[in-house]
Amino acid sequence: MEGWDPSTKSALTQIPLLTTRAGPRDGGPWTQRLKEEYRALIAYTSMNKSNDNDWFRISAANPEGTRWEGTCWYVHNLRRYEFQLQFDIPVTYPATAPEIELPQLDGKTHKMYRGGKICLTVHFKPLWAKNCPRFGIAHALCLGLAPWLAAEVPILVDSGMVKHKDDEATSAES
């Protein structure tokens, strides 16, 4: 963890850790795991809000809690860039991490796999593997998606690959 910035580190220590090692095919234990996921997400979201660092919305898209959808945003040069966010809980969860997708950015950067799955191999997967089953969705967002956005959005914006929605509207009018 040496290389992480202090604010990520302090956020991480405040997200409750999970204990149940259960995946979506495990029935009762999965419900238990799901409760722990919610607790961690609630804690992380309210922490972000109180620190004025709110940056995502996520909720389960099906009753089983195997599909999650929402949005995330990043502020660059005082402008807010917002993206759709989605992922499935893999059958081998939590042994393998969820593959976070930003479908709107598919094809716009090579730090991405097919379908808009962001590349987490180097900076996140080793941490996830070492901390299984204690890390959950909230940790994946904090340690996987947040640094990815911080690294990629400025490049995408500066290179013109991603346009702010206000600029898109004006360019469409003209």
């Binding site: 309210s46 059958v91 042994a95």
Partner: protein, 390 residues
Amino acid sequence: MTLIMKSATIRRSKVKELSAEVVDSNPYSRLMALQRMGIVENYEKIRDFSVAIVGIGGVGSVAAEMLTRCGIGRLLLYDYDTVELANMNRLFFRPDQVGMTKTDAAVQTLSDINPDVVLESYSLNITTVKGFDTFIESLKRKSAEEGRSSGVDLVLSCVDNYEARMVVNQACNELNQTWMESGVSEDAVSGHIQLLVPGETACFACAPPLVVASGVDERTLKREGVCAASLPTTMGVVAGLLVQNSLKYLLKFGQVSPYLGYNSLKDYFPAMEMKPNPQCSNSACLQRQKEYIQAKPARDALAKAKLDAESSSEAECPLHMDNEWHISVVDDSEAESSNIGKKPDALPDGLVHELPNADKYQEPPASGETSAITDDLEELQRQLDALNSS
């Protein structure tokens, strides 16, 4: 030009039985010659086998073509991707197939090459809950008529990521299905194949890939690109090693490699064996390990009977007529028992083994009670929704 037109329309018809007749028109004559030369006892048996290939990329598509040309009975193909121009540095797919799903494009080519093979195409993502169910069901489909837990004889994993390998591992552990794993490194200059027999050899989760400790700065993200290198040569070699091992396993000839590496820079082929991890995190793997250890007496008896049968046929006449020095061969077990008063793996006083003995089944220690979260799931959902909407 007319020749090209003509060749494009030629379709060979299906054959009923594999013939060993050496004529230009027999697609199986060179394969049946394996039998004549004493390499394979019964090559025709290949038509009874079903093989599932997961991942129809640089390795999987070539492996599928090899098995098709060998006359395999049934091939099940799994992939969720489509053919792209970026795939053309590898073998098998053609530019005119760009846009088709990889499984459909493969079926198109393979059914032309050998119409005798039954081909099943599954365009799905096996890592999702729904995809996994279809995957398991398709593997089990012909199991009733075969009288086993799985309807295929071998699963070949030709995927390019850790998540999918873990899924194949999960399915095969649950179905007690022998499988082979294959991989090519991201820099395209090395690869490996591995045989996985649930309970007997290490499963994919038994020895997780080296988890390199963090220290990763988000800025370093920019240096690495996702786009991995690939070479048709390395992929072809690995596919060849994989299918060779599969043929040896199915047709029972030669030695089946438990693990074979390929380092193309030094042309080095390391081989090794891996025992299962008694502390594996995969519960299906632990279950298979338990069954394997419990079946040990029966396996030993069978091996002994086989050995006895062989030795009795040999020991008709003594090897040496005179034995002036009374030299005799002593069995390993006798040698051990003569080592009186000391258990073979006894440790000095005060020392204990940290890990359990792999030859004995150990009950996993009961995990500490999960902290009881009494909260209602719906209440938690409401709390998150409230946060989301504020």
